[in-house]
């Protein structure tokens, strides 16, 4: 008897995106339709082939609205994942589970928003603070105190991280520099042609100390969609499939959304540890087998913490691990070849999954040679998710 596993059952067969901008000039539903249309075209499928849709609870576009616009017919599967950017990889997990179990045949995972020209996550949201549910109760212990933006929420943990491990602001800066370096050669990136230096990072203004402006990812308008179907069906479609070798979600004791301040150890991301352990087991690989890492980079400190939590290096050792050319395209662990969210666009992690697919197809603008396994993570500091995508 074979152990039950999701590994290898499903694949990403199509990817699509709108342009990434600061003001799309059109509705979020229109963006969702455009990226989904593009992803289906990329997969060589038609809207009528789609029977499943999955997105974030934060997405403002209902599955049925998107289905109506594109002429998608009957839906047998629709699902949403909570906790902001932590949902990204989990949309693929949900879709993979649906196709692996025969619940659906072709599932589109999508995320589309006017996050810069419309509702900006980086601002203080009274609505989020004062929602009347358990999240609102959770928020009552930090919003009134002034911890009211994502940057501030992360800064509390980042400060403790610096204290515990003797790291400095420059160590955060090195993540921003590598992301911007990769974005500079990606024509689709907002910061195409605009690399930065560590000195630029150090000169950028404080947002929430110890975070500087260049530690915080940009805000973007845009949409990304992914087409997930069975590995078997994906083989008959135009592009080389990106096999879902592992897909996992994770939450951990004492979990809050970005404010898990009451655990014994503050400077850690145990919920990502939950994800990582599943990924390595499901995919049957170890961190050293990863050819490209697409790590969620809403804030630079969390990239360091992810490297530690996933086992690429020991606790507190990320600053040493990233020294030299480790994260360069030719390095031991190329990071965010598309430029990440700091450099390409902030599409809540979905653009990173699309980049992982391109790396496996061999079609990325900043291609890592012979990429076989790509790790993708979702928003961290929240209940999160991750993927290992593999080339056949």
């Amino acid at each position: 008897m074979t152990a039950m596993t999701l590994s290898g059952k499903a694949a990403i067969a199509g990817i699509g995106a709108t342009e990434f901008s600061k003001d799309s000039g059109r509705s979020e539903l229109r963006l969702a339709a455009e990226c989904t249309h593009a992803a289906l075209a990329d997969a060589g499928l038609a809207p009528s082939d789609v029977d499943g849709l999955v997105t974030f609870t934060m997405d403002s576009n209902a599955e049925i609205a998107l289905a109506r616009e594109l002429g998608i017919g009957e839906l047998t599967f629709f699902s949403r994942i909570g906790y902001g950017g932590g949902a990204a990889a989990a949309t693929v997990q949900q879709a993979a589970m649906a196709v692996a179990t025969g619940v659906a045949d072709v599932v589109v995972a999508y995320r589309a928003f006017n996050e810069r020209s419309g509702h900006r996550f980086g601002q203080v949201s009274a609505g989020a603070a004062q929602q009347v549910n358990t999240s609102g109760i959770d928020n009552s212990f930090h919003y009134p105190a002034g911890i009211a933006t994502p940057a501030a929420m992360v800064a509390m943990l980042a400060r403790r991280y610096l204290h515990d491990y003797g790291a400095g602001s420059e160590d955060f800066g090195r993540i921003a520099v590598i992301d911007r370096k990769h974005a500079a050669t990606n024509p689709n990136a907002w910061f195409y042609g605009k690399p930065i230096t560590l000195a630029d990072h150090q000169a950028s203004r404080w947002i929430a100390e110890p975070l500087r402006l260049l530690d915080c990812c940009q805000e973007s308008d845009g949409g990304v969609a992914l087409v997930i179907t069975s590995a078997e069906r994906a083989r008959d479609l135009p592009h080389r499939p990106a096999i879902v070798a592992a897909a996992a979600q994770g939450s951990s004791p004492g979990q809050y959304v970005m404010t898990s301040y009451y655990r014994d150890e503050l400077a850690a991301l145990p919920e990502l540890g939950v994800v990582g352990r599943q990924l390595w087991t499901q995919a049957g690989i170890t961190p050293s087998d990863v050819d490209v890492a697409v790590l969620y980079d809403h804030f630079t400190p969390y990239v360091l913490l992810q490297l530690e939590e996933l086992g690429f290096c020991g606790r507190g050792e990320a600053k040493d691990f990233i020294a030299g050319d480790t994260l360069e395209l030719g390095g031991a662990l190329p990071l965010n070849p598309h430029g990440g969210q700091l450099g390409e666009a902030y599409i809540h992690g979905m653009n990173g999954i699309a980049e992982a697919v391109r790396q496996l197809r061999g079609s990325a603008v900043n291609q890592v040679e012979d990429a076989q396994h790509v790790l993708v993570t979702a928003g961290t500091g929240v209940p999160t998710s991750g993927l290992v995508l593999a080339r056949i």
Partner: protein
Amino acid sequence: MSSTTISDAAQRIVSQGDSAPRLARDPVNQPMVNNWVEAIGETNPVYNDPGFAARSVHGGLVAPPAMAQVWTMRGLHGQRADDDPLGAMTAVLDAEGFTSVVATDSEQTYHRYLRPGEHVAASARLESVVGPKQTALGEGWFVTTRTSWTVGEEVVAEMLFRVLKFRPPGEHRAPDADRARVVDAPEYAAGVLRPVISADTAFFWEGTSVGELRIQRWGETLRHPPGPVGTGGDLATTPDYVVARGTGTLYSYVVHHAPKVPGKRLPFVVALVELDEGVRVLGELIDVGPEDVYIGLAVSVVFLRIDDELTLPAWQVAQ
């Protein structure tokens, strides 16, 4: 200090034992039984139908057992006996600021039913005084007395009676204790993000409004932020809280520069403080320059009074 005073007084009163028996104003009598059954809505004929009662298990009229205490009530203008232990203990607790009272338990045991014409007497003794305890009503002491009702030498009924003597809200500190600093901060009222409050967290905000930093307690375990279920998901336990001393050290902090936050002046410092009691509590750190803040800094609690509805806990550098 006040705890010692109270414990010493309790020990003295306990050692005095039973008060002298105090005779009821009237013997057990039918008119009072009649008033009682009418008011309570009692329809049992053994209390007022002589014929029925004669044929019953009682063989004659009896008084309702739950009236045991009624017979020896002091009445409209009655005075407590000088040796009444509850009166003596109440006076001690009143003097220490525990001026409010609420009864919590009444356990009556009836050794036999009383009959009209019997004349009962009551005597009482102090069993125990336990405290100080943090309760939902405030800090207080549980005072337990035992009353015995006798007819002649025979004990006919007994009662264990427990009251909580507590410090009413607003009178939150013993007179000689240091009061936490309360800062009137109406300027913060302009749009400050108000907490969503639930049945599980109301005590915390009620505490801040009277200058108390209340930390939920499940048995011996302190928990913050609070919630509705104890450690390990045990639904059978219920929490109370302790009032934290209000001192601790910075476990981490943020200096917030941008964007603007309603009710705050940029830049401001928010501290995650590890209390001396062991739990972490978040709050703005006021009256300090960001450059003087560091992990490990000793702080003490201060309360920012926004308006009648909201007082926020905050921190200041300890003297």
